[in-house]
């Protein structure tokens, strides 16, 4: 996210080192260019939530809680449930996060994760109608950053999908029949890339992120479709670079998806 203050100074001294490594095909933490950091997912972490997942992507740690409550449908979609997405960059997670209303970084992050889930139709919204035009289930996806070491886009995207997949619609609590599993029918996975000099690496860590000239997140689903993209930062990409990044995202996304799904519904590679 922001590269200001102390992190910027550290980054400046590491810049040439990271560039030098990249030239030799290496990264500061020893990964290959397309290798993500280790992913650890703990679902059901928050019992009070209707679905939750604590995700560690290397040292980056995010917690997503899903709450599901009855609410009014939007007038133009009386027969569909509703989802909303929010991110809190709480100051506990990084010296660069400040308390207060959501920063533009937090808003962008939430909207990019939201887009991946919404556009892939992850949740079967037609199954979330209680009474058409009157009452539908509203799915709140709240993302809490607990430790910021780079690439919140992927950590949040993974955690949101895992939490949704873990979620139960609490129908009994509200007197609308039996609880049922939230109908998750697609599995979008964002993969973020950082451009460092002329090299492009997947899942940038904090050091890489702080010196990256440009960022590109590509969210793909289990059918090999592309559901969302978001370019960020002050640099640019050539069209060839974008095409390669999309292809890399498809293959990395596949691996990440099978980790999220624990092999159950995941593709076997």
């Amino acid at each position: 996210m922001t590269t200001k203050f102390s992190e910027g100074v550290v980054a400046e001294s590491k810049r040439s080192y990271i560039h030098k490594l990249a030239k030799e095909g290496m990264r500061i933490d020893g990964r290959d260019f397309d290798e993500t950091r280790p992913i650890k997912i703990t679902t059901g972490f928050i019992k009070r939530a209707d679905g939750s997942a604590l995700v560690e992507l290397g040292d980056t740690k995010v917690l997503v809680g899903v709450k599901i409550e009855p609410g009014e449908p939007f007038p133009d979609t009386p027969n569909l449930g509703i989802m909303t997405t929010n991110v809190e960059l709480v100051p506990l997670a990084s010296p660069t996060f400040e308390p207060g209303p959501p920063s533009e970084e937090a808003i962008e992050l939430a909207r990019v994760v939201d887009r991946g889930i919404r556009e892939s139709h992850t949740i079967d919204m037609e199954k979330l109608v209680i009474e058409e035009g009157e009452k539908v289930w509203v799915v709140f996806i709240d993302m809490h950053i607990l430790d910021y070491h780079g690439n919140l886009f992927d950590a949040c995207g993974i955690a949101a999908l895992a939490a949704l997949n873990d979620a139960t619609v609490p129908a009994e609590r509200f007197g609308f029949g039996e609880d049922f599993k939230l109908p998750v029918v697609h599995y979008p996975v964002p993969v973020t890339f950082a451009k460092i000099g002329e090299w492009i690496v997947a899942d940038p860590n904090l050091d890489e992120e702080s010196i990256a000239s440009a960022r590109l997140t590509v969210t793909t689903n289990e059918e090999g479709k592309i559901n969302a993209m978001q370019k960020g930062l002050f640099g640019t990409f050539s069209y060839d670079e974008v095409k390669k990044v999309i292809n890399r995202s498809l293959s990395i996304g596949k691996k990440v998806r099978s980790i999220i799904l624990g092999g159950e519904n995941g593709e076997e590679n």
């Binding site: 556009e119 479709k225 592309i226 559901n227 978001q230 370019k231 960020g232 050539s238 069209y239």
Partner: protein, 244 residues
């Protein structure tokens, strides 16, 4: 994207509801120097979009802590007028406009020689007066014209254009109905001289082939819009004139 609809967006002859071919732009008109008080300004009519942009700066950046010692900061503010859409929009920034302001600021920064103006801010105000889909790409296009009008040195003009998919067909420059009921939207902005992509977003459901088709369509059209931008600037400043 996404509401399902019974409206047929592509007819039997392959034409769109406004009569365009899949790879055809809506009509575009541009003008520079429309806000006399600003350092640079421009107006664009793009289909049903009417968007005005004004540039102030480079000027000393306030508050001081936002200053960068080695470059100018570029602060684009994308704002929709309350009356710009069918249902009145509550005035002021919402989450969408905050995000768009951010990506537009970043894209414009990539074009401007910001290192020439340390500790300053270049403020770019984009006001959407009438919205008809594609406001962010029209907005960044008119903003880059306003920056040129302000005499701010840039690597190239930044040209925005979007493509997407409606009724299973990849199409250029979605209009309102296509945006509401289409299957995907890919807004882009490029610097045509080098082909560098400064802004890229996408939402919807596309195969790799559809996505690359859409991107190529948008980039080709951007070159067309680029010529229009150059013509507009030459119209005001003269083609062979070295003064500016």
């Amino acid at each position: 994207m996404g509401m399902k609809s019974d409206i047929k967006l592509i007819d039997d002859n392959g034409l769109r509801i406004d009569g365009r071919l899949p790879n055809q732009l809506r009509p575009i008109k541009m003008e520079v120097g429309v806000v006399k008080r600003a350092d640079g300004s421009a107006f664009i009519e793009w289909g049903g979009n009417k968007i005005i942009a004004a540039v102030y700066g480079p000027r000393e950046a306030y508050p001081k802590h936002v200053q960068e010692s080695d470059r100018a900061i570029v602060r684009a503010r994308y704002n929709m007028a309350a009356f710009s859409v069918d249902e009145r929009k509550r005035p002021g920034p919402d989450r969408r406009s905050v995000e768009l302001s951010k990506v537009i600021s970043e894209a414009l920064t990539s074009a401007i020689f910001v290192e020439k103006f340390p500790r300053t801010a270049i403020d770019v105000y984009i006001e959407v007066l009438q919205a008809d889909a594609g406001t962010r790409v029209a907005g960044i296009t008119v903003a880059s014209l306003a920056l040129a009008d302000a005499g701010i040195p840039m690597r190239d003009l930044v040209v925005g254009c979007a493509a997407g998919k409606v009724d299973g067909v990849v199409v250029l420059d979605l209009n309102k109905e296509e945006d509401n009921f289409g299957e995907a939207d890919v807004p882009m902005a490029i610097m045509p001289r080098t082909g560098d992509i400064a802004l890229l977003q996408m939402d919807g459901d596309l195969t790799y082939e559809e996505l690359t088709n859409a991107m190529e369509m948008a980039m080709d059209a951007a070159k067309e819009i680029y010529q229009l931008e150059i013509k507009t600037l030459k119209g005001k400043y003269g083609g062979d004139n070295n003064d500016d």
